[in-house]
């Protein structure tokens, strides 16, 4: 390679590396703002902002969804399998909302530690499968759980 081309290649390499480092620094500085939501554990650690609305994301706990008497307000627990936050939301929930489903809610914690949401979005995961496969997975899972329970009770 002749020296001029080598120099150009070197300069371009420096440019791209420089921009890469700058982008990395900027993204690190804005890390908290780039988080679309906070997990219940992060809220428990006090990482979530106070004084302005933020989003909480996690799975809807099983058997936690309760309708309030007004028929519009729903209360449910959001968990990341370590910590749990109770969310209250008034309005129409997205189609994918169900127990065990990932959701992201926008709102604020009130004095009693309940997260009052003004918006609830469903978070879809990366799994795509036909209903039969999902059914057989669930059956296999349930059978496994039953077996383990039987073993535990037999001991």
């Amino acid at each position: 390679m002749n020296p001029i081309r080598k120099k150009r290649l070197y300069l371009i390499g420096m440019m791209v590396a420089g921009i890469g480092v700058a982008a990395w620094l900027a993204l690190n500085a804005f890390d908290e703002n780039l988080m679309f939501f906070f997990s219940p554990s992060e809220i428990a650690e006090g990482k979530a902002p106070t004084g302005h609305p933020f989003r909480v994301g996690g799975l809807v706990s099983n058997n936690s969804v309760k309708r309030k008497p007004d028929g519009l307000t729903t209360a449910f627990d959001v968990t990341d399998n370590a910590e749990t936050v109770t969310v209250e939301y008034t309005g129409i929930l997205p189609d994918l909302f169900r127990e065990g489903q990932g959701i992201v809610a926008l709102g604020q914690l009130n004095e009693s530690g309940i997260f009052v949401a003004s918006e609830v979005l469903a978070k879809h995961d990366e799994n795509y499968m036909p209903p039969e496969v999902a059914d057989s997975l669930k059956t296999a899972h349930d059978e496994g759980v039953n077996e383990m329970q039987q073993q535990v009770s037999a001991q």
Partner: protein, 240 residues
């Protein structure tokens, strides 16, 4: 290889192959995707929009990488054909990015409950669309096309940092967008019957890009060499 005339002739012979194989894989992919692949256990039929959305999103990043590599070669070796490759790819890439954003939005409303959210994946993909549009605008703003090609080469290389950001955004930060279902290594998070049409569509879109970029590059070669003898002879040959 570097000769515009040679490129013009070879590209002309390659286009029909790309076009025919594009159509065949497109028909196969759409048929498998819409009629053979089973519905999803959670989303039902509406997941099928991914057969456009995912390949379009792949293409938006793939074409940008092609442009960045062509930009590097153009800047270091000053090869005309790679300069032409960048600008011929830009509008195809912009279209795929736009398609990925629109189809994603159409899916997002029923599934997430929102047309648009400012999470890291969606925002960085929108930035990619602006990069494409910026490259197209910069190229058309500069009269001297060799200078213009150098300018967009630099812009394409500056923007290349966005590509890993788009790809890893779903892993580095909490996003509403799900993580990748299809990975080069490891276990696939998508059942095979759904994956096959997706890969077919992915191949189909790449072949489409191949055909279109060659067509556009041929036109660009003709325009740049309009005052040379071989183009005049070619035009006179067509007239007869």
């Amino acid at each position: 290889m570097g000769s515009p005339r040679y490129f013009y002739n070879v590209a002309g012979k390659m286009i029909p192959w790309f076009a025919v194989s594009f159509l065949l894989t497109l028909i196969a992919g759409i048929y498998y995707g819409l009629f053979v692949a089973p519905p999803d256990y959670q989303q039902g039929e509406s997941y099928r929009i991914m057969y456009i959305h995912v390949p379009a999103a792949w293409m938006s990043m793939f074409i940008y990488m092609v442009m960045a590599v062509a930009g590097l070669i153009s800047l270091v070796w000053r090869i005309k054909i790679t300069e032409i490759t960048i600008i011929s790819s830009a509008s195809v890439g912009a279209s795929f990015t736009f398609l990925a954003l629109v189809t994603g939005s159409l899916w997002g409303k029923p599934m997430w409950g929102a047309w648009w959210v400012w999470d890291a994946r969606l925002t960085s993909e929108l930035l990619l669309l602006f990069l494409y549009l910026g490259i197209i605008a910069l190229y058309s703003a500069i009269e001297d096309k060799r200078v213009a090609a150098r300018a967009i080469s630099i812009l394409a290389l500056v923007g290349v940092v966005n590509i890993p950001i788009i790809h890893y955004s779903v892993e580095w930060w909490n996003t509403l967008h799900q993580t990748s279902s299809v990975t080069m290594t490891g276990k696939q998070a998508m059942s095979t019957s759904m994956l096959i049409p997706l890969l077919l569509m992915g191949i189909s879109f790449k072949l489409y890009y191949g055909a279109v970029v060659l067509m556009r590059a041929r036109a660009e070669v003709l325009e740049r060499d309009r005052n040379t003898r071989w183009v005049r002879e070619l035009v006179e040959g067509e007239m007869k």
